[in-house]
Every structure is written in C-alpha cells, then in structure tokens.
C-alpha cells in the first residue's frame, strides 16, 4: 500500500468540506449585504410614507412593497410612536416618526446548528401630515 495512485482524490476528498464551507460563507456574506441594503431602503421609504399619511397600514404596506428582493413575510416592523399615542393621535405635524424593521436571513444548513442571522434597519422622518 505504498503507491501514489489515488492520492489526489483522497486529498481532495479531505479538503472538499472545507472548500464548501468557505463557498457557503461567501454566499452568506453577499446575501447579508443585499438584505441590509434592501432593508435600509425599505425603512426609509416606509418612514417617508408615514410622514405623508400618518397611517400604520400605509407604512407597513410600503415596507412590504419596497423590501424586494427580500420576502416580506420574514420582515417584522415596529413603528414609534404608535398611531394611538400622542402626538400621532392628535396633530403630529413637526414630530418625528421612526420605522424599525428586522429580517431573519434564511440560512442553508440551519438545521445543523448554524446561527440565525438577523438584519435590522431603521429610518426616521419628520411628519408632514396634518389632520
């Protein structure tokens, strides 16, 4: 058993898992970047919609419509202050509205214990709407 036949394939089989992990990491980092940029854009658009309408439904609708290429059902959002609270329930013109959103990145091989990546973004706008 001292011949060199098949040594390359054995070595390749040994390093293949490591190469696959590196390739997976590159893809994940790229996906993270896309998600962060998309979420930043979507929160800015949603906050702008909120500044013009003072309507939570419009804000969430805008967020869902502009978050592409991310899946809207994986995005959770938080609007501050709430529509039922002052100053938004009265005359909010001139006050600030903040939209925060988070997105859980679907990780391939997550079932083997890879950590979940959660991307967050927020944007604020001065409310221009008047009752």
């Amino acid at each position: 058993m001292s011949g060199d036949r098949g040594q390359a394939i054995v070595e390749f089989a040994l390093v293949l898992p490591i190469l696959l992990v590196v390739a997976l990491a590159i893809v994940l980092v790229a996906e993270l970047g896309v998600a962060r940029l998309a979420l930043q854009h979507a929160t800015a658009e949603a906050a702008r919609a909120g500044a013009l309408t003072n309507d939570d439904e419009q804000i969430r609708g805008t967020l869902a419509a502009t978050v592409a290429p991310l899946a809207p059902d994986r995005v959770t959002s938080e609007i501050a202050p709430a529509q039922s609270e002052q100053p938004r329930s009265g005359d909010p013109r001139g006050s600030l509205l903040t939209v925060r959103a988070s997105y859980t990145l679907p990780v391939p091989l997550g079932f083997v214990g890879l950590p979940r990546f959660v991307v967050t973004a927020s944007a604020s706008r001065r409310i221009e709407w008047t009752p």
């Binding site: 940029l37 800015a44 001139g94």
Partner: protein, 146 residues
Amino acid sequence: MDAVSGERGQALVIAALLIGIGALAIVGLRVVQERVLASARSQDAGEAAVEAAAAAIADAYVAHVGGLRGHVFDVPRPTTNVAALLADPATREAARAAAAETAARNGEVFDGAVEARCVGKTIEIELRRSGRVHRAALEADACSPR
C-alpha cells in the same frame, strides 16, 4: 521522491490557497458592503434632513401668508415678502434645527446651514452635508406676487 519534487500533498497546497482566496473575498465583500451601506444611510439621512427643513420653511411660509390675511382691508394693503421671510434668522434656525434633529435621529450629524431662496413660484431649499447636496422645493405663489 524528496520533499520538493514529490507529488504528495499537491491537493492540500491548492486547497490552502483556495481557502486563503476565499477568506480574502469574504473580507473584501464586508469592506465594500460597509462602504455602500454607509453611503446609503448618509444619503437617506440627508434626504430626511432636507425634507424636514422644507417642512419647517413651509410652516413659516403658511404662518406668514396667513398672518397677512387678517390685514387684507388695511390701507395700504400689506404685501408678502417671502425673500425677507427666508432671510429671517428665526426661519433659518427653525429649518436648521429641524434638519439637525432629523439627521441625528437617522444616526448622522448635520451642523451646516440650510439655504432657501425663491425661484419663480417655488421656494428651493438646499442643504450640504458630507460633500453631498440635498435639495427640496415647495410651491409658493407668493414668491412672485402679481
């Protein structure tokens, strides 16, 4: 077969090189992503700031025009002076404060000035931040009184 000319371990060397290139690619991607994201955040904060400044100026303009309505039967009739309103330190400070507050809430700093001027029947608002110029405009008939 000596250590230099032997073929054993060739695949391991190539794999080590590929892993190094992969690690470099990851670091490069992260650096580029941070730059692109910082630029996008700065752009968004600038847009939010100039919109806030424009809204503050719009409020001052509406209050100015509304204030004149109460004196519409005065002789001589008062006239709007939007240029004076835009040059008023109180208007400029209100616009600057609104821009600074909005930029701060978006995680950015704005400590410059807001420029506003009448162009035709619009008020143009300009804000310079981090080498970028952000503009907004609002309709203002009183800029060109008949």
